[in-house]
Amino acid sequence: MLKKQKTKVGAREFFALYAMTMALQFSDQTPATIFKDAKNAGWMVPIIAGILTLVSFSFVLLVLSKYKDKNMIEIIYSTFGKYIGFILCFILFIVAFAAIVLNSRSYVDITRTMFLPKTPTNVIYFMLIAAAYMIGRGGLRGISSTAWLFFVPMCIVIIIMSVLSFKDINMYYIYPIWGPGVKEILKVSVRHTGVFGELILFTIFFSEVRSYKCYKAASLTGTAFAIVVLAVFSFIYITVFDYVSLENMAFPFQELTMIVNIEQFFTNLGSLFFWIWIMLSVIRCTVLLYLATSIFCYMLNIKEIKPLLPALSAIIFILGNMPNSSLAQNITSKADVFYQLTYYILLLLPFILWILSKIRKVAGNES
């Protein structure tokens, strides 16, 4: 029993996994896609989207509390049956897979544009995916321990950045308070529930976590952390740059690292943040890679996940390197399709799952 306990992931590590993968989006192109539509009210979007996702997640928790030892895929199969279950799992897989391809590409673009302009894209991409694969070989326990290890540096970056940007903040930039209008903010928030998509997708790992209580605590605190970080940073971006400049900015976080300074002595802090940031993004890519692989394996009932990692890494590498996966498209067309796909599933699936499990239960009682 003790041995089994050890192979499972504890609440602390799982919290780090949640907090890191979701919160790290403050430093990639996610804020840029939010500000494009939500303008100066963009800081509300993470809060509303987070709450929406949490509401739908509470249904997942209700369902999960009934199945102590099963993961999400098994639950879907047992609720929806073999065929519809497979289709749903496949859609989940596509969502997770698209997330890793889009995100990894986004990190490569940022690295290339801001720091390593001469290095070929495919080399950076290869390094990123290779590193993600290396960490992924450690299994979920290895990944979450790594996430916990880097959780503290991430907090340090977050705190330093918020403190240093304080003097550049102009509170007037957040007005008019409702920005493009309440309706538009809600619309954008619904469209960006995909930002917290991991909340639902991580239910795949449910059976790997020590207990239901652990899982619940870790997921809720992790999400709360991510909501706060994303909202605070969106707020900082808006109050430092104002939406008129933000609309044209591809990488607000990197721009922010370039303008913060400590008096006149430490001025070029951008590269200092870069090396912490690149490590964090490797971990995020690892998590997403492992997530996609896990869904794939559970879907096809493959017991061993690790042997499939290199295959999926290779596919991601090839897809991400496709000539069309360029930066501008990432922000516009592709991301839109991706978010649209995800928000339907992520908001509706838990609800349907819950209703169906209720019906099953009632039907089971009657028979």
């Binding site: 303008k39 100066n40 544009t113 801001m114 720091f115 390593l116 302009p117 001469k118 290095t119 070929p120 080399v123 390094m127 102009n170 007037y172 930039y173 007005y175 008019p176 308070i177 409702w178 920005g179 493009p180 209008g181 740059f241 104002d242 008129v244 400049s245 044209n248 721009e255 370039m258 303008i259 300074n261 006149q264 070029n268």
Partner: protein, 416 residues
């Protein structure tokens, strides 16, 4: 086990070989550009001037530097676009041009007044190396002349000149602290004039008496030292330079902004009780300016109260402003009135000539609305020139320097 060891070995070799691969930088091979100048040239071309810091020159003896070397190398190239200087420079500069430490961008007035300026500036910001908090200086002559003639005896290191100057600007308010980020923001918002630092190294001189701050660059009558003068500001509207204002108007513009952009500064006034003399006063904006904007009506009303603390530093006329309460209040009101007169003149100019404000009031107006849609419908840009603006200066006299009373008072012969 064997596999593990081989893996670790391979990884370690990879780390060694792959570190930085294509983008590796040798510190010694970098040419750090401290100041960039841009001028208009014939046809579609621009002249780009780079002041490249020499890490060996100008350092103190004993720290390994070579004192005989010049502190900077200044090169100018004529070309189509700004960033291609990196390659063109390779024709004569031995090191690789790097803009990561660029502190200042100097733009010739002729170029700033042309339509092309804003486009070129945007292309500069697109580059990953150029920082958005680079200072923007507009030079009366060409930027190339400005950079070449800027020889400060105190600061042999070129980057220090601007670093230290920027602190003086903040203190005196004679020039606005203008950075590229703010310039782009003012321009993109379409609602604000941008005030950029105005400088020159041509001394023009001016007839007639001047107070201490109503100069524009070139008019300051000084001898010796660095020939560069930075005073007053270049006024930009929609990304194009339209005019120049003097140091006094710059101070007023900074005072009218809500935030504290100006620390403390000296002014002289004719002594209201004895016109023969002047009194010198140090003014401090100790609190935020209070700006009330009412956008309920078709014509916006703007009420501004500028809080100022005054320290009287010299009273050559020997009028007792110190112990006489009446005189003290009279002086405070007098300063407020003087400032108000000048401010109203400048506001009229901004409404009639520039048709735009430079005081960030549009942000306060923005706060009055619930959505961006409503704000855009109100059309602040069109409304501003008609706005009813009242300005009050709330001057309180804080102290009188180190003396209680005028010297002569002790002998019982002070005036009044």
């Amino acid at each position: 086990m064997k596999v593990k060891i081989t893996m670790i070995l391979i990884m370690n070799i990879c780390f060694g070989l792959l570190s930085g691969c294509w983008d590796k930088l040798e510190l010694e091979e970098q040419a750090y550009v401290v100041t960039v100048g841009i001028d208009i040239a014939e046809g579609d071309n621009i002249v780009v001037t780079c002041q490249i810091a020499n890490p060996q020159g100008g350092s103190t003896a004993g720290s390994g530097g070579n004192q005989n070397e010049p502190a900077a190398e200044i090169v100018s190239f004529t070309m189509r676009d700004f960033l291609s200087i990196r390659d063109l420079a390779a024709s004569s500069v031995t090191r690789r041009i790097t803009f990561t430490h660029t502190k200042t961008l100097v733009v010739g007035e002729d170029f700033a007044r042309s339509d092309k300026f804003y486009n070129i500036l945007e292309s500069i910001v697109r580059d990953r190396q150029v920082r958005r908090d680079t200072y923007l200086i507009i030079s009366k002559e060409s930027a190339e002349d400005f950079i070449r003639n800027n020889q400060s005896a105190l600061e042999t290191r070129p980057h220090k000149f601007y670093e230290f100057m920027s602190k003086r600007w903040q203190e005196s308010g004679l020039v606005p602290v203008s950075i590229i980020r703010r310039f782009i923001h003012d321009t993109e918002s379409g609602e604000a004039l941008h005030l950029a630092i105005y400088g020159t190294n041509e001394k023009t001189g001016i007839a007639g008496e001047k107070d201490e701050d109503n100069y524009i660059a070139g008019e300051v009558d000084k001898e010796g030292g660095n020939i560069v003068q930075l005073i007053g500001s270049a006024v930009f509207k929609d990304g194009k330079m339209i005019n120049v204002i003097d140091g006094e108007d710059t101070r007023i513009a900074l005072l009218l902004r809500e935030q504290i952009d100006i620390d403390t500064y000296f002014v002289t006034y004719k002594d209201p009780k004895d016109e023969e003399y002047v009194i010198t006063i140090r003014l401090t904006k100790h609190k935020k300016t209070k700006v009330d904007i009412n956008t309920d009506n078709e014509i916006p009303t703007i009420n501004v109260v500028v809080p100022l603390e005054a320290s009287v530093v010299s009273i050559p006329s020997n009028v007792d402003y110190v112990t006489d309460e009446g005189n003290k209040n009279f002086l405070a009101d007098y300063i407020g009135e003087e400032l108000k007169k000048k401010t109203e003149k400048f506001l009229d100019r901004s409404k009639e000539e520039f048709k735009m404000g430079a005081f960030d009031w549009y942000l306060i107006a923005r706060k009055q609305f619930n959505t961006l849609e409503e704000y855009k419908l109100y059309n602040w840009r069109e409304k501003y020139p008609e706005a009813e603006i009242t300005v009050e200066y709330d001057v309180s006299i804080k102290d009188f320097g180190r003396l209680f009373q005028p010297h002569t008072n002790r002998e019982g012969s002070a005036n009044q």
